[in-house]
Amino acid sequence: MNTPESQLRYELQMLLDDYAATIDEDRLEEWPDLFLEDCLYEIIPKENESAGLPIGIIRCDNRRMMRDRVISLRNANIYAPAIYRHFLSALRIHSVEGDTVDFSCNYLVINSNQMGQSLVYQTGRYQDRVVRTPEGWRFVQKRAVYDTSRVQTLLAIPV
């Protein structure tokens, strides 16, 4: 059973679980560490993506911008405390070339607020590219293409 393909699936699943836990457990300072220095992280509505339009709600085209985002969230931006839970499914591996893998998977983020409500906050699909490094798999690209085009109140914490 332990074919290269199933081994790869297992490793990608592990990476995604680590990624989700980093955010859901509020370890945002570690979030950029899952990326290479030259990388792309963006959250973009599907309506723009489908129309070939570039605008999203967060777009970091290097890891410094991701660290800036975290510093701003911790020290500058004002938003109601919230807890995310990520639910991931339907992992599809699209291509494997040497140490680079392209894959995608569904994501659902439930946001629990101060009043004790848990609401569907955002759902969409990750379109990811990772590379194998001595430290493990790292994201070169993570694009969260979301279906929930109406963002409720605001989006502070990355998905």
Partner: protein, 414 residues
């Protein structure tokens, strides 16, 4: 008659909180504002460039569709079939030569004229429509439409002034400042807030909050409350306004230290500060241009990011904001990339805008059971001639005076 509300003062400095949550007032606003003598922003000309292109949107909470007709003109109609009231257009965007209601396939052209009614003349002895049925009398509700420098507006009113006069001579040069050449539409993002639409209009007329709520500016040493400014109203009904924050070199950190404002912090620097570039492209170099054209549009230039924000009421307790981002057709590749990068500053996750809906929701939740209590809007009231400061609530007072007049709400007699 039982009046929905009165205002304690006639200078816009006291606003009864019930205007933010009353269903009765909300319904009256739909009639007197959105279906009254106002021009309502629908979208950008550049969103529907080709004949047949359409976009579904709203005037207030009435669904409308804006279209590009075969001759290249603009049209807009209420999205309600003339037959039995079903929404005719069911898509957010698209291209179509005709719009057919799915219920009974009544068909309309891009301008909303009725083209055909199935079985109008009956079939095999069935009578069909009466002989005196005239399709020309059963078009969709067609609206007056006009565009100003690529911004498309529509109105239910036959009496409101032409669009350029409605925007007015004081506001037009500021619209022209941003819309000075053909634009490229770059996409939209949407933000939904559990608060009343007027709380957002107050927010975009409130330069006082900018450096106090949005700490990104000050945390990263970008924006100072002592910055030079130009804040003025339209000189008409006071419903439109402009805030221009003008770039200057002088550092006013000391002013913050003196007042011990929580937003002052010397410690943080951005690792990638290219996000804060300000490539000069206008005659007056401003970091912020915030210009509401009442009731549905806010024109925004923040650094090099350009947005037409559409503000839509969704019942008394909710509104939706749609940020239409754009650049110029003649932008260099670098400039286009910078505008896309600076989209991080605004919108639902914007570094210097995300808190706005947080603040408006705090007001909504704080005032829900205190409709007869009122806000206190006094900043710079004693100096009405001052236009060069951000520490003012003048634009908000002016807005409420215009609102009171438009809604026909009287001032309490002392």
């Amino acid at each position: 008659m039982n009046k929905p509300t009165t205002f304690p003062r006639n200078d816009g400095s006291r606003v009864p909180y019930k205007v933010f949550s009353s269903q009765k007032i909300y319904d009256l606003e739909q009639e007197r504002i959105y279906r009254g003598p106002t021009w309502n922003f629908l979208g950008l000309d550049a969103e529907i460039p080709n004949p047949g292109d359409f976009k579904s949107t709203f005037i207030g909470d009435t669904p409308v569709v804006m279209t590009r007709s075969e001759d290249g003109g603009l049209a807009a109609w209420v999205n309600r079939c003339a037959h039995r009231g079903a929404m005719v257009c069911r898509l957010a965007r698209g291209n179509a030569k005709s719009h057919d209601c799915v219920y009974h396939q009544w068909s309309y052209d891009t301008r909303g004229n009725l083209l055909g009614v199935p079985f109008r003349r009956g079939q095999k002895g069935a009578a069909g429509m009466p002989a005196d049925f005239k399709p020309a009398e059963h078009s969709l509700r067609q609206l007056r439409v006009d565009s100003y420098r690529g911004l498309v507006f529509a109105t239910f009113s036959d009496t409101v002034a032409d669009l350029p006069d409605y925007i007015g001579p004081v506001m037009r040069p500021f619209v022209d400042r941003v819309f000075n050449r053909p634009i490229e539409y770059l996409g939209c993002t949407r933000q939904f807030s559990n608060s009343n639409w007027k709380l957002y209009l107050e927010n975009v007329k409130d330069p006082y909050h900018a450096s106090l709520l949005h700490l990104f500016h000050t945390t990263f040493n970008i924006f100072r409350v002592g910055m030079k400014a130009h804040c003025t109203t339209d000189g008409q009904d006071g419903l439109h306004s402009i805030i221009l924050a003008i770039k200057e070199q002088a550092n006013t950190e000391d002013a913050y230290k003196e007042q011990n404002i929580r937003s002052f912090d010397e410690g943080f620097r951005l690792e990638d500060d290219s996000i804060l570039a300000l490539v000069p492209e206008f005659e007056v170099i401003a970091t912020n241009h915030i210009q509401p054209i009442f009731p549905q549009l806010v024109i925004q230039q923040i650094h090099n990011t350009l947005v037409a924000r559409q503000l839509l009421p969704k019942g008394p307790n909710n509104f939706e904001l749609i940020f239409h981002f754009f650049g110029y057709v003649d932008d260099s590749a670098e400039m286009r990339a910078l505008r896309i990068k600076q989209a991080n500053l605004v919108g639902p996750a914007g570094y210097i805008s995300m808190e706005d809906t947080e603040a408006t929701e705090l007001v909504q939740h704080g005032t829900v059971r205190d409709g007869d209590a009122y806000s206190v809007i006094e900043m710079a009231k004693s100096a009405p001639e001052q236009e060069d400061t951000l520490i003012t609530e003048k634009l908000i007072r002016s807005f409420w005076m215009g609102y009171q007049k438009l809604m026909g709400f009287e001032t309490e007699v002392a």
